[in-house]
């Protein structure tokens, strides 16, 4: 079994979304969205506010079921085998979700429990994760005492402490200053390189895209582009991701406001 796993591991993508549509009442928020995040890939999901990013995340994390299309994490369909799928998933939500009255360690141990770890294992995992984001020495402080950037780092520590195969980050750098943004980006990118995690990074900030990334442009619920950055620039005949985004979505003023 143990010897079989790595071969599987190489082949199965971290995330496959295929033909997913979703509506709230009459309002269609996602229209046949498809994308793939391979292992060790950093995929940027670019879209303005209201593009459908958060809805897509809610479907992947099974806050509600996808009615049409399929979503699978490392080959496990989120609807048919939710436990196996969610077990391999780590998420950083857009809104802050740490309990500010508890310490960093207590927050992380709670999360470990939600994933079935207890006792020594939970404590060790929490320490490792905090070490990774450089906050190990503050483990016993209350979350309330942290800055915005540190909060985000704890949330990233929490999202990866159970060694997921797929990491979802929803506007993880919103509201952070430049320094914190860079340190958060670096931590996640290092994780991709080290653990070969698949990362889906949702953002509306164009400058977070690196030339080596894969980009998915989601606009009004529809995927308008899905591929590597250089190809996007060639296709649109532009020199920056920002211009390319404008050209693809036809939104001039909106993106200026958002960025």
């Amino acid at each position: 079994m143990a010897s079989k796993a790595p071969t599987d591991a190489e082949g199965t993508p971290a995330l496959v979304v295929s033909g997913v549509s979703h509506s709230f009442g009459d309002r269609k928020v996602l229209d046949r969205v498809s994308l793939t995040v391979s292992q060790g890939a950093f995929v940027v999901l670019l879209g303005l506010n209201g593009a459908g990013k958060s809805t897509l995340f809610s479907l992947i994390t099974r806050l509600y079921d996808n009615v049409s299309g399929e979503i699978s994490i490392r080959g496990f369909d989120v609807r048919r085998r939710p436990s196996q799928a969610l077990q391999r998933l780590g998420v950083v939500f857009q809104s802050r979700t740490l309990d500010i009255d508890l310490t960093l360690m207590q927050n992380l141990k709670y999360h470990a429990a939600l994933h079935g770890f207890s006792g020594r294992t939970a404590t060790d995992l929490a320490r490792q994760a905090l070490e990774l984001v450089g906050l190990a020495e503050r483990a016993d402080e209350k979350v309330r005492a942290l800055s915005g950037g540190q909060l985000r780092r704890v949330e990233i520590a929490r999202s990866m402490m159970h060694h997921p195969d797929l990491l979802l980050l929803d506007e993880a750098t919103v509201g952070l200053d430049l320094g914190s943004r860079e340190s958060v980006m670096k931590i996640v990118r290092d994780l991709v390189a080290r653990d070969r995690l698949g990362v889906l990074w949702a953002t509306h900030l164009m400058d977070e895209v690196l030339p080596t990334d894969q980009v998915v442009i989601l606009h009004k619920g529809v995927v308008l582009y899905n591929g590597p950055v250089p190809q996007l620039l060639t296709l649109t005949g532009t020199s920056s991701v920002r211009e390319a985004f404008r050209s693809v979505t036809g939104t001039k003023s909106a993106i200026e406001e958002a960025a």
Binding site: R62, D65, S83, Q87, L89, L102, Y110
Partner: protein, 339 residues
Amino acid sequence: MATQAVTTGSESLARGYRESEDAARRRLGVSGYWACFKGIVWREILRYLHQRERFLSALVRPLIWLFIFAAGFRQTLGVSIIPPYETYVLYEEYIAPGLIAMILLFNAMQSSLSMVYDRETGTMRTLLVSPFPRSFLLLSKLLGGVSVALLQAYAFMLVAWFWGIQPPPITEVKLFTFYDPPTWAGDVIAKMTDPIVNPLFSVPEFIQPFAGYITVIPAIILAGLMLGSLALFMSSVIKQLENFAGVMNFVIFPMFFASSALYPLWRIREASPPLYEICRLNPFTYAVELIRFGLYGQVDTVSLAIVVGCTVVFLAAAVFAYNPSKGLIARRGGPGGSA
């Protein structure tokens, strides 16, 4: 020792650690469920202990009723000898079980409030993305809330004890007693249970003086579960935090006042037969009676059946409402809203 474990861990992370399929499967086994359950309950208790104001207000509320309201009404409201009481009791003693139930009710509504808040802020998502089944997560959260309520109830009973309000010594535990059964059923029940109405087992002498504090535990847990699952269901139905003021007016107060918490039902019947019928339809009445009999080492069978039945119904409704495919949340756009 811990440092060593950490170093090993970091190395494994650096090498691109992957959990083996076996370990992943084990994590979803019985020990995983147990860890998850413990974690959720522990967090509820920790959070509660960190909110000192909440603890105090939960304690002060019933004490005000006990020390001021009950003292004032002691002369006006005589309570006759009705089961489980075998002598005249002070009014304070009569309303004590009702106040314990009030603690459970407020606690349940408080946790419902915090779930609506969690849903609005998105904190709920961290719970719901756990790989364990949602019904299990909700049930664990419910039991976490009940544990907190149990702590509160004991804090209240401790203060009441110093005030001299305490259950009498119990010599025997009765498993079948009937409080106000429907007339048609009374005879049948009496015949059926005649051999076992009598005490099933007697209580060792050294426990007798405080046995009521032990026999009330299951009653508090069951009543807490019923009220907790009602609140859980409500938390899925309430759309916004602002609507919660309405919960006070439309749920907590009617449930509390139209019940046997403050006055015995026979008195209500004398005053107003329709109100009496309403009180008998109110599940809270049976929560109160279950606790009242529990303090006296007795099980009121009718209340037990109704409390358990209501728990099942409310819980099923709550699980349905939180179900990702069918539930109300899915239809409305999900916890934390949509974007």
